[in-house]
């Protein structure tokens, strides 16, 4: 077998997933020994034109990080899909929409207005917005279309595997790449590089009883570093998140609650809805007034339960006018 051919790309991303690939350190060289990387904007100087000129399915594996925010992201996703045998959604942005997906709670025009005019650090001329086509004396300049909403990768192309995390743990990326190199791939559509259980299952924290009368913000209490966050009234997305980031889980190990970056566990389609149920079920009150007060202690439910998954949720395209 000849060397495998890889492409690594980013849509609406932060580059953290690319860095997670680089963070495989010297193992990256093992990958390089088994594979040629044909396209990787953060690290190598190949252009879109080079990809366009490749034969269809000539790339063995494409690792695509980042969400689909504009027409360029969609166009390149489709181009890479056409050129690649296997498409992997790398990281939370590609799998679920990720942090950039939080923009789906805002309207497109409101985003443009604030970024180009409202923000105190912007000094645009009045009424100036980025245009898809701008005429300049020398010719025309083109920018991608900024979409109404952020989409996940699988909302625009077929995805073969999902490698979750924000970013995915480097060791997991390596395992997956090795599985690809040795041809040990699970059935298409699988989530790879993670466990098939909820994160709580691999959490070492002591659990006693989940009954909560007050939800705290982390700065409001001195919490017990040994005990389950949720039982102490700190929202932790463990029950609604897939395990596998590391053992013990990455954030838990750093004494922070899980924020859900590995996406929903198996059999859960809407991570936010699942977490919302889990939280409601531990509220220890039957008094409507008190319930109201307890719930008011959760200051940003959307940004907490749907921090990574707004575009993947059924809520994605529903908005009031």
């Amino acid at each position: 077998m000849g060397k495998l051919k890889f492409a690594i790309y980013w849509g609406a991303a932060c580059g953290g997933c690319d860095v997670a690939v680089v963070d495989t350190h010297e193992k990256l060289l093992d990958i390089a020994a088994a594979a040629d990387i044909l396209f990787w904007p953060v690290a190598l100087d190949f252009k879109y034109r080079d990809v366009e000129e490749m034969a269809d399915k000539s790339i063995d594996v494409c690792l695509f990080s980042g969400a689909v925010r504009n027409s360029e992201n969609e166009h390149i996703a489709k181009l890479l899909r056409q050129k690649s045998k296997v498409m992997v959604a790398l990281g939370a942005c590609a799998q679920l929409g990720g942090i950039p997906g939080l923009a789906n709670e805002k309207r497109r025009q409101d985003i443009l207005d604030f970024v180009y005019h409202g923000s105190p650090s912007t000094a645009s001329q009045k009424g100036v917005y980025p245009q898809e086509i701008t005429s300049v004396p020398e010719g025309k300049l083109k920018l991608p279309k900024f979409y109404d909403a952020v989409m996940t990768l699988d909302q625009v192309v077929e995805v073969d595997y999902y490698l979750p995390g924000c970013p995915p743990e480097s060791a997991r990326i390596l395992e997956v790449v090795q599985a690809i190199v040795t041809g040990n791939l699970p059935p298409k559509g699988a989530v790879v590089g993670a466990l098939d259980k909820a994160l709580c299952d691999s959490c070492p924290r002591k659990r006693e009883e989940k009954k909560v009368k007050v939800f705290y913000r982390p700065q409001e209490i001195l919490f017990d570093p040994e005990r389950c966050f949720l039982e102490q009234g700190l929202i932790c997305l463990g029950p609604a998140t897939r395990g596998g980031c590391s053992d013990p889980p990455r954030c838990i190990r750093s004494n922070m609650p899980c924020e859900g970056c590995y996406g929903p566990p198996p059999d859960v389609t809407d991570q936010g809805a699942k977490m919302l149920s889990a939280v409601s079920s531990i509220i220890d009150s039957q008094d409507p007034g008190q319930i109201e007060k307890i719930i008011d202690g959760i200051v940003d439910p959307l940004g907490t339960f749907y921090r990574f998954g707004l575009p993947a949720s059924a809520l994605r395209k529903k908005r009031f006018p």
Binding site: D148, D270, L276, I291, P301, L302, Y306, A314, F320
Partner: protein, 136 residues
């Protein structure tokens, strides 16, 4: 928004609210046809995922009907429903959905007329709000 007829999905529990709805029929109390009813065992068994799904599939409003607090056939199901409903409503509001689009109401066997009135009121409210739009 003239002539807009909202689609409303109603989840009702198999016990008090079911009997309440029946008695509306027996008493001849009529209500708008906008409400499509789905029976569940208990108001506490309506998962937020299902409610979101209902909105996704085209509902302009969702109403959950259960037994009055203290009367749930399964004792605490409606308390569960109440907690989830408030948290979901708060979350949806942040997403831009008016809170009137999601309602939780208790209906007893003796409240057939009240139920019919309620459906009328919810339908009116949703007509006023207009359809739940979708991004293009």
């Amino acid at each position: 928004m003239d002539n807009f007829e909202p689609k409303i999905i109603g989840f009702y529990c198999n016990w008090s609210s079911q009997m309440g709805i029946d008695s509306a029929g027996v008493e001849g109390a009529s209500y708008p046809p906008n409400l499509r009813l789905i029976r569940v065992m208990c108001s506490g068994s309506v998962d937020p995922e299902v409610i979101i799904e209902a909105f996704k599939k085209g509902a302009d409003g969702v109403v959950i009907l259960g037994c009055h607090l203290g009367n749930c056939h399964y004792r605490n199901g409606n308390y569960n429903a109440l907690r989830r409903y408030r948290l979901l409503q708060k979350t949806l509001e942040q997403f831009g959905l008016e809170k009137e689009r999601l309602r939780l109401e208790w209906v007893s066997v003796a409240e057939g007329k009240r139920f019919a009135g309620l459906v009328g009121e919810i339908t009116e409210e949703l007509r006023r709000l207009g359809p739940l739009r979708q991004f293009s």
